[in-house]
Symmetry: C2
Subunit: 380 residues, 2 copies
């Protein structure tokens, strides 16, 4: 293979892989049914449950795919044709939930919020009260990667659950970086990815289902023609593999080793210390960007710590600046998505990538690139 | 993470990972949209097309999941609710195709063949002639991993295509080990995995779609409510990522590096030389097992070279012998599936694992374990 360039990954994910995690991937291969693999999967399940803060009776595991496969697993198992679903849409990944729920046959009602703002409990409350019938499912995104917004999903879940609905929460950009409290929220299906806050490469999607979600999926009867549409994402078959060692698919050994090692690192640091590190470095970035006239899109109280949506200053070109950052400094940051394309950059400080060193490296590089463009020296 | 035991992987997959492939995975991480990653994905596409022997106008890439995700991608994009599908069932993976096609709404007719035998062109021909209406899709398995049978899919595809049907071919256990000739067969959707004949870890599913299959999937109109059920497996979105660099999911960099390096190795060896190596070592295994009274399930002309379905001799215990093989010798072989559980072992000689050394190591270990069980010395 060709030589791979070294990058400092400060975009919306993947984040830099921990060196210990990279080494773990070179351990000898085990098959998907090896007793040593099954022991490791049990340990992964239990530690993932701690990181999610999922209840004792939840079923927590990892789907063999990226974060999007986690979203599809949540949707495929909680929705039937004709289900009434509400999606809190605060950005691109809320839109993706709308699409996916629609594909699985749900009738979707959108609770739209201005891009760049969180959904307040009051907004969801009045939205839910105005519905003609209570929803079966309410889906929402914790850390909206497209806008850098953190939604108050604990409050939103409580409101949704009070209507009797099941709740789906996307924690792709929050797990391992922000406090996540699945049991406290009372959420029914919560998924994430490995390549952001957890510091591993992509390829597995940690996910947890509440007991009532598992029971609801288990009640689907193939005899009555009620099979889930997806075989790969069928919770019953996945549980048969993870819990009963029954073959379903060939899980990727190096990805399991990577996740296993990443979870060790997360728990050695401690969940609270890890969140605090993400908060501190986020604040350092905000401070470092201010002298360049760069501000964040969301108001301070609604900001993600793992992903900073930064408004591109007037007079600064989007794509050419990102290209220079990559070519001259080897630093990757992300472009805006959808209506925010050309208007924001997305700067990730996630997992192993959330460090003061990286904040300083980035702000220095940005300073040297932006000074000529905006006609004054903006960083020293 | 705990220490991982060393195993000699001679089961139905995963096969041993090439050392060069394991090293490739430790290269620095690239994001899914990095220009260097997109260049590598282009190179992966072109070399995968050579390994599949797919046509110039086919769309060849890899799904971010295991071989089963490749199967689901083929099915999800070629089938609509109400499609008439025929599945040639020669074992467990034919059964899986029946299930998956049914889940995606097809009306499935089974062409059942005795487990342990290939489907002959005459059998399929008379089956197709007896149908009340021509099928929309005919699905079949090239190397049936559950029975060790190689189906003559070239002839079967020609018969199926003559009815106007699209064809789906499962090459999970044949790609990189047996001659695969997608263009010659005229097949419409052909998928495989990375962890068998190609010698990489699992986690990606190489797949190729003919031009008419791509056009058929592209003709599905979201405006008319005709979206594919799956978002993760939607061919249009996957093509947008692989060809147009539009974000769909975060492909796993180490898995891409592994596949890239594995394809280098496959093409350095040469497709014909690689198949011949698999054939030779398969024959050496058959010869090495004969003195122990161990015979293969399928007749000689219908045998896979990559996966040997070996009848367990009378008086030999299945699970305890496999456990001893694993615990005392560190060798993994596979159990029988479904009706063949307890009746056969599945011995894989795939990719890097197909070597005379491995044949000798395994037959020596089996000899020392079986001699006391069957009351005579069976190997020296």
């Amino acid at each position: 293979m060709p030589r791979v360039p070294e990058r400092l990954l400060l975009g919306p994910g993947p984040s830099p892989v921990e060196p210990r995690v990279a080494r773990a991937m070179t351990e000898p291969s085990l098959s998907h049914l090896d007793p040593a693999m099954m022991t490791m999967l049990d340990a992964v399940r239990h530690r993932l449950a701690r990181v999610f803060r999922a209840g004792e009776d939840a079923f927590t595991f990892a789907v063999s795919g990226t974060g999007t496969s986690g979203m599809e697993t949540a949707v495929a198992n909680l929705v039937r044709p004709g289900s009434r679903a509400v999606v809190v849409v605060t950005g691109y990944f809320g839109e993706r939930l709308v699409q996916m729920l629609g594909r699985y046959g749900a009738t979707v009602t959108r609770a739209d919020v201005e891009w760049g703002r969180a959904c307040s409990p009051e907004q969801l409350d009045s939205f839910l009260r105005a519905l003609p019938a209570p929803p079966d499912v309410v889906a929402m995104v914790h850390g909206e990667t497209s806008t850098g917004v953190l939604n108050p999903v604990g409050d939103l879940c409580r409101l949704a659950s009070a209507t009797g609905a099941m709740t789906i929460v996307d924690c792709v950009t929050s797990l391992g970086a922000h406090p996540v409290d699945v049991a406290g929220w009372g959420a029914d299906a919560v998924y994430s990815c490995t390549q952001k806050g957890l510091g591993a490469p992509s390829g597995l999607a940690p996910i947890t289902f509440s007991r009532r979600a598992v029971e609801s999926a288990a009640a689907v009867s193939p005899e009555r023609g009620e099979t889930h549409r997806s075989f790969y994402f069928d919770l019953n078959l996945l549980a048969d593999y993870w819990l009963n060692r029954k073959y379903h698919h060939t899980i990727s050994a190096p990805l399991v080793y990577a996740l296993d090692e990443a979870l060790d690192i997360v728990l050695e640091e401690g969940l609270d210390a890890r969140s605090e590190r993400h908060r501190t470095n986020h604040l350092a970035l905000v401070e470092g960007l201010a002298p360049m006239g760069m501000e964040l899109l969301p108001p301070p109280a609604e900001r993600l710590w793992s992903l900073n949506a930064v408004k591109i200053p007037d007079g600064v070109e989007d794509a050419p600046t990102r290209k220079q950052l990559l070519d001259r400094f080897g630093i990757e940051i992300g472009a805006g998505l959808g209506p925010l394309a050309g208007r924001i950059w997305r700067i990730g400080l996630m997992g192993f990538g959330s460090s003061l060193d990286n904040v300083q490296t980035l702000t220095a590089a940005l300073g040297s690139l932006l000074s000529p463009q905006i006609g004054r020296r903006v960083y020293q």
